[in-house]
């Protein structure tokens, strides 16, 4: 069952008294073949969950790195169907690592929610994070997901106060993605102390594991976040390896660089023992 892949992952990490590492990459950047190699490299170097970015022309919550990654993927004519096929290829060889599709509502809406849910399930996808689909607007999507056990993973932010958190938690599953800074992806890093209270509240209200992302780039930052959350999400720092690969033309450097970063991050996270 897909949801249990996510649940199992958190249970396994909890058994090892550590936080999980969630790593993001953009499908089709610099090309689909390299993305596949990168997914394997991330998994082999300690990434517990893979977020696969589905490119969109107008990523309003993303900073420059992920915006450019999306445009490179689109220049390669990467479609939502390609992103799902990439997930399926990975799933054929790996039955345990959760794969989450992260992106924006329109391409999914355009495919139609029901058809997307069916295709995502068939591809072995475990859930989605659709940035511009808040609880008020994801009812139809949740209906479509229900029969496939796909998780609707929601975002919470420092502006999400307790009453709002109840709304965010309602119908959410898998885990909660806590956006550490008010800002776009890849922006300045958050002070873990400033958000520790918000994360406690998010855990209590949602009853879900809480992963923290936005602005986490280094092992040291990841370790700090691992102290206060169940998982740490890193995106832009991985994507920057794809950018370098694109610029140099040495595509193999992307999985190499991403793998090395995953190793640094997962080692750092493992230095923090969770109660």
């Amino acid at each position: 069952m897909p949801t249990s892949r996510i649940t199992d992952t958190f249970a396994r990490a909890s058994g090892e008294s550590r936080a999980v590492l969630v790593s993001y990459l953009m499908a089709g950047d610099p090309d689909l073949e390299t993305s596949y190699a990168a997914m394997c490299a991330l998994r082999d170097n300690g990434a517990d969950i893979i977020e696969l970015g589905a490119p969109f022309t107008d990523p309003m919550a993303d900073g420059a790195s992920i915006q450019k990654a999306g445009l490179r993927a689109l220049a390669n004519k990467t479609t939502l169907a390609d992103t799902l096929a990439l997930a399926a290829r990975f799933r054929a060889e790996d039955q345990t690592t959760p794969v989450i599709i992260m992106g924006y509502a329109n391409p999914v809406f355009c495919m139609r929610y029901a058809e997307f849910a069916k295709a995502a399930h068939a591809a072995g996808v475990d859930g989605t994070i659709l940035v511009d689909l808040p609880p008020e607007e994801d009812g139809e999507l949740r209906e479509a997901y229900a029969q496939y056990d796909l998780s609707v993973i929601r975002l919470a932010t420092p502006t999400t106060h307790e009453n709002r958190m109840k709304k965010v938690a309602e119908g959410a599953s898998g885990f909660l993605y806590f956006v550490a800074v008010t800002g776009v992806t890849g922006a300045g890093s958050a002070d873990p102390q400033a958000i520790a209270g918000n994360i406690e509240m998010a855990k209590r209200v949602s009853g879900l594991p809480v992963c923290v992302g936005f602005g986490v780039k280094t092992g040291a930052q990841a370790a700090e976040m691992a102290k206060i959350a169940d998982g740490v999400v890193v995106g832009s720092a991985f994507v920057e390896h794809a950018e370098k690969a694109h610029e140099s033309g040495d595509f193999a450097s992307a999985p190499r660089g991403m793998g090395a970063l995953a190793k640094e991050l997962s080692s750092a996270i493992r230095t923090i023992t969770k109660p």
Partner: protein, 403 residues
């Protein structure tokens, strides 16, 4: 269902106009737009808010704008009587200031000190910078770098008014990217910043409040035509990019079922070429910039760049209420190419001594056939939503004139 009782009662509590509209924003912004909605409800009920608006409309903006009988254009087409609602005579030269004034007054009520805005043609940017200067607020305007280039006079005006201009090169460097960048700024500066959206689109409550502020156009026009002609018009017409001037004109006539509501989209090089800005005539429903509406997009749900000679219409979406009015059949939406708009621009200038902006030139290009179809007993109003001074350079270029 008795539709006559429902046209002007949208949006519903979820910000929906039928199936369109809504609040498709990142969670960071949800508390902000919910707060804005609550504050707007309070302001609407507050006589002091209305009194302040009315006073500034009268003495700063110059409202009511005249309703003018375009006698020679009427003779030229030999059909229905054509009136112009002269919103190009407003302070700053377009209808945009009606909305900016309302939003900035709301921002002040909310204690916000920094106003951000996106702009295409620069009219909304100029209007926002103007009101910010008037109230001593910081103003940051995001503008696609393509538009910065083709709207130089407005860029300079904004700078004179004290605004900071941020040229946007991300994406394709046009109005939609300026809007993305404004949203990115807003999620980053949630505490002190108010996003003043220029058109009747975006997440709820923007389509509603922009419409309400712009409805002054239709309210005045309706009263003025009744006074001048003793009856309602047979048709009202306006150009449509995001659609704020059109919804402002249409809304007070929604319950008058005998009044045809006609919007004119920008067909650019022609809808069949794919290079246009006609979301209703050449797009399909989708989700962008906080609302569900008609969008120019690929089969895979990627947004396609719009094209129009008019920077103010150069947007791949349209306000959600227009999407609703189109699907329900209450309003009609025509289109007009760059070439036709250029011809209408010159025609109006020569016949009426009014240099229209390229935006309303699109509506002028379609007014003749509607006037002729209505016949000589017909009566219609066209919204002259902006003056053409800002466009003289691009028109000269399009006509091959070296200035």
């Amino acid at each position: 269902m008795d539709l006559r009782n429902t046209w002007d009662q949208w949006p519903d509590a979820n910000g929906r106009f039928g199936d369109f509209g809504g609040r498709y924003v990142a969670e960071t912004l949800m508390p902000l737009i919910l707060e804005l909605e609550a504050e707007y409800r309070k302001a609407k009920e507050d006589p002091a808010f209305k009194a302040e608006m009315d006073d500034l409309w009268a003495h700063y903006v110059g409202r009511p704008s005249p309703l003018y009988f375009a006698e020679r254009l009427t003779e030229h087409f030999d059909g229905a009587k054509i009136y112009f609602k002269r919103d190009e005579l407003n302070h700053t030269g377009a209808h945009k200031i009606n909305n900016c004034l309302g939003q900035v007054l709301l921002a002040r009520r909310m204690g916000k000190t920094r106003i951000i805005a996106e702009t295409g043609a620069g009219q909304h940017g100029v209007a926002t910078a103007t009101i910010c200067a008037r109230f001593g607020l910081d103003c940051v305007v995001f503008m696609g770098e393509t538009d910065v280039e083709r709207q130089k006079p407005n860029v300079f005006r904004m700078k004179l008014l004290g605004a900071e201009i941020v040229p946007v090169s991300s994406g394709t460097g046009t109005l939609k990217d300026a809007m993305n960048e404004a949203l990115r700024d807003w999620v980053t500066n949630v505490d002190d910043t108010f996003y003043c959206i220029g058109t009747a689109a975006g997440p709820h409550p923007y389509p509603e409040l922009v419409r309400d502020f712009q409805s002054i156009i239709g309210k005045e026009a309706r009263a003025q035509i009744l006074e001048r002609e003793g009856r309602l018009p047979d048709a009202v017409m306006a150009c449509i990019g995001g659609g704020s001037n059109a919804i402002g004109l249409f809304h007070p006539f929604l319950e008058d079922e005998g009044v045809r509501l006609i919007g004119v989209e920008a067909a650019g090089h022609g809808i069949e070429t794919g290079e246009h800005a006609a979301a209703l005539n050449g797009g399909k429903p989708g989700i962008l910039h906080g609302n569900k509406t008609y969008l120019l997009q690929t089969d895979d749900g990627q947004i396609i760049d719009a094209h129009s000679i008019s920077a103010g219409l150069d947007y791949p979406g349209i306000g959600p209420e227009h999407a609703f009015l189109r699907d329900s059949g209450r309003a009609e939406y025509l289109s007009c190419t760059d070439k036709e708009a250029l011809a209408a621009f010159q025609l109006c200038t020569r016949l009426e001594g009014i240099i229209p902006a390229l935006e309303p030139s699109h509506a002028i290009a379609r007014v003749g056939e509607v006037a002729q179809a209505l016949g000589k007993d017909g009566l219609m109003i066209l919204n002259m939503c902006g003056r053409g001074d800002k466009d003289v350079f691009s028109v000269a270029k399009a006509l091959g004139v070296d200035m």
